[in-house]
Symmetry: C2
Subunit: 510 residues, 2 copies
């Protein structure tokens, strides 16, 4: 953590949230920060890159066990190195996460600068943003906490508002934090002209934030410190200590500190900013970025005929979406779900998620593509006694050593070269080759090459659920069976020792 | 054709149409008559069953080469036997098709009764319909042509209208046929109270219709008779002679005969009828059949939240559709296309088809599932150098003997037992077994069993289009390569003789 004493700013990215207002593109198991909502990059990756460069130390990413491999994978693609991925044992909102990051930085340098930011917002001009941060550093050096505010252009009820105090020298203090207001109240605030939207971005010296907690929320200090003291490193992750963290109250930073402190200065985020907090916001940004007649936004797989004020988003070329005669509508399709909503109801999309959850539909929470530490898989077809999956294994990655009690598997490699273990047999299987894994065989798939392995798996059997798996070894520290397979069950051929269940948070399969 | 002299009615089902107003469920290659729009049965099958029973002879089905196997397959499922499937070389609208059927019946018995009906309409009460037909038979025996009319309940502009003359004894004659009117004109007709919708169903003695053609459209007589004289039977089909048929004018029966003849009586179709000529009609029928609050119709895979006057139709459980706050809307999803339209624009759905055709999207005309005489296939995944298909082969069916120049195939049987020929090798491949077809191997798949074969095919190669096929033999009379494979290329093992290209209308693959 030597960067923390260098005068550089440590970015803290909050990447543990799982909002549903952008369903079906954002789902609990793969929320919007990890998706490309506007542009090619994911929002998380854009945030990482925005906070990289000479003035920044490597980032701290606050996330949870479910998202840790997504974070690690997306971080790697950005080329930003040295990040610390902190795994919160359970979600406890922003207050504990920000305090933990402040304590981590303070342990190296109490005056270390910390910039906390959501990972799911859009800021298109990174240079302008950096200039604003540089200005804010001057305020922070006076010991104040800086919150970034955005000048409102409409009476949005989806944002918190900052009411400003009088100018004090070079900057203004916040007089009051106002939680998301009703539309009428938002209109009043807009008319008043003395309010900004709260962008949820904060800059401070580490010790200053700890001091705020000491003054306004001291009950957080010991449990957060205890979780840090108990933390352990495990492959790419810093796992916070479980028990003290669970005792923490679930509280936002606004509620725990900001609304109570008199030490909050504001810095105007004068560059373009959007929280993409609903499809109306996404539509608004897309229209602004690329103004078209009738405010119609349609992607490549979508066709708008006689439409006005409409967002049409398709699930890709394979799912064509056509709108005819639509007004003020949102149509968002993915390969397994379609949302059609009145634009004014954009903030009610959680109703769709609730309804599908009540019907126990997978679409409420998850995507067809399941991410794993070694890559991903997706079901292509499923019937009574068979299932077809497409599986991608990253270079250098390996599925766990495992066996199934109720199914056989045919693997056809269609790209790359896999190293396949089946009982005592170890072989390479390359493009246009296949291999059969009989029911009960101890097997493993590894990608020893430089390009992804893609294979088609055809499973047959009467029970095809993910929980038909006995795992003997896993390079990602996921739980394994306490006993190795016995002789003749493949054990001798396997180059590893038995491994205990080291990770009770892991719930992944394969 | 002995039934034609028995006094029974010969049903003539028109099943060659390919409307697009129910896109994306109805497409050119698999139009609505072959789909289940309301209920479980397809509209065509419901029509076949409605016109089966003691008073009916086996039906004549007028269709085209593209639909012939769909017709044959769906007919078989109804259990109605003895049908004649007539293949029109090209579509020439209803006049030639009806005349051909009349001539077929007249050749056995000039006084034979003929009932012509579309195969894509909905008549829910078959018994009531039969009673009406029985009544109409009495009128027909006076030498008149009977057209069935429906009392209008709204000023629909999608139907033709029949203006009635004064009562003549037991029935009324048609004074005038009115083509689809504008909505204003339709409202006048409705107010007038002397008009019925033209249901497009006709009953007549065969010779009476031929006489009408002689009087009003004599130019059809010779070419239609010539096409019948040149017709040949081929497996399940009667192929009309090509050249004379191509010379025929493209004309509807209304335009060719009905609007000109003074010999048309009307019979009121007092049972429930709908032409399902657009999604508005489908919505209207569904609401009527199952009245719900707010006139919302949603199937199992669809969820309506705060909606009113809405049809929500999903592509099945795997594609969940959710509507929020919708008014007067149609949302129809299939696995590869979604239509979202204002209910008032239901008759403009062809605009969607035109737009997708202009973008060269397959969804404009075809479904992912491709029907073949031996069963069907669908693509599960497609990428640069591989493709995964699910293939179903009917019991007793057989793909053509073939080879590919640019791809290898892995077949994994997941249900049933296939007999597979690969060059000189003939073997049975059963559930959970796989077989490899190398590039260039002459191969064939047959289902010798009693249950469908389902297999997963993984193709690899740089060129994966359907036209990479050399076909040596085909049991469905589709075009084959003039030369058999040479020795060592599998010829000796193959129990058949070379077969010439006998059917220039066949365009199917595999």
């Amino acid at each position: 953590m030597k960067d923390h004493v260098s005068g550089k700013i440590t970015p803290v990215l909050l990447a543990g949230g799982s909002g549903t207002r952008l369903w079906p593109v954002s789902r609990k198991t793969f929320p919007k920060q990890f998706s490309s909502i506007t542009g090619d990059e994911t929002l998380f990756q854009a945030a990482v890159r925005r906070l990289a460069g000479p003035v920044y130390a490597p980032p701290i990413v606050m996330t949870n066990a479910d998202f840790r491999f997504i974070v690690a994978g997306q971080l790697e693609q950005t080329g930003v190195s040295g990040a610390t991925i902190v795994v919160e044992p359970v979600g406890r909102n922003t207050a504990p996460a920000i305090l933990a990051a402040a304590q981590m930085v303070a342990s190296g340098n109490p005056l270390g600068l910390v910039l906390v930011a959501p990972s799911d917002h859009m800021i298109s001009d990174s240079a302008a943003f950096s200039a604003i941060v540089t200005k804010a550093v001057e305020i922070v050096k006076t010991g104040r906490i800086v919150v970034f505010g955005v000048r409102p252009d409409r009476p949005a009820s989806a944002y918190g508002y900052l009411e400003l105090a009088d100018q004090e020298g070079d900057f203004q203090m916040v007089r009051r934090f106002i939680e998301k207001p009703a539309t009428d109240r938002a209109a009043d605030l807009l008319a008043d002209g003395n309010c900004l939207w709260n962008a949820g971005i904060f800059l401070f010296q580490a010790q200053a934030m700890i001091d705020e907690f000491r003054n306004h929320a001291p009950e957080f200090l010991s449990p957060v410190q205890a979780s840090l003291d108990l933390a352990r490193h495990d492959t790419d992750f810093l796992w916070l200590g479980d028990e003290p963290w669970r005792e923490l109250p679930d509280r936002s930073i606004d509620y725990a500190i900001m609304e109570k402190s008199g030490n909050i200065a504001v810095c105007r985020l004068s560059c373009h900013w959007a929280d993409l907090g609903g499809w109306d916001s996404v539509w608004h940004e897309a229209v602004a970025a690329c103004p078209t007649g009738n405010a119609v936004v349609a992607d490549e797989g979508a066709t708008a005929i006689d439409c006005r004020n409409v967002l049409l988003r398709s699930g890709g070329d394979d799912l064509q979406v056509v709108g005819i005669g639509l007004r003020d509508m949102i149509v968002v399709a993915t390969s397994d779900a379609v949302l059609v909503a009145d634009l004014k109801r954009a903030q009610d999309v959680r109703l769709a998620v609730d309804a599908l959850a009540a019907k126990r539909r997978k679409q409420a929470v998850a995507f067809p593509r399941e991410h794993r530490p070694w890559g991903w898989y997706e079901t292509l077809a499923r019937a009574d006694r068979f299932q077809v999956k497409r599986i991608m294994v990253e270079p250098g990655a390996s599925l766990s050593l495992q066996k199934h009690m109720h199914r056989s598997e045919h693997w056809v490699v269609v790209s790359g070269t896999a190293q396949v273990t089946i009982n005592d047999d170890l072989r390479l299987v390359s493009e246009n080759e296949s291999v059969y894994v009989p029911l009960g065989a101890v097997h493993r798939m590894t990608n020893p090459g430089k390009v992804p392995v893609i294979l088609i798996e055809v499973q047959t059997g009467v029970y095809l659920e993910e929980d038909d798996i006995i795992r003997y070894h896993d390079q990602y520290a996921r739980p394994v069976h306490p006993q190795m397979p016995v002789d003749g069950d493949g054990a001798e051929a396997l180059p590893f020792a038995a491994q205990a269940d080291v990770n009770n948070a892991a719930r992944h399969v394969s």
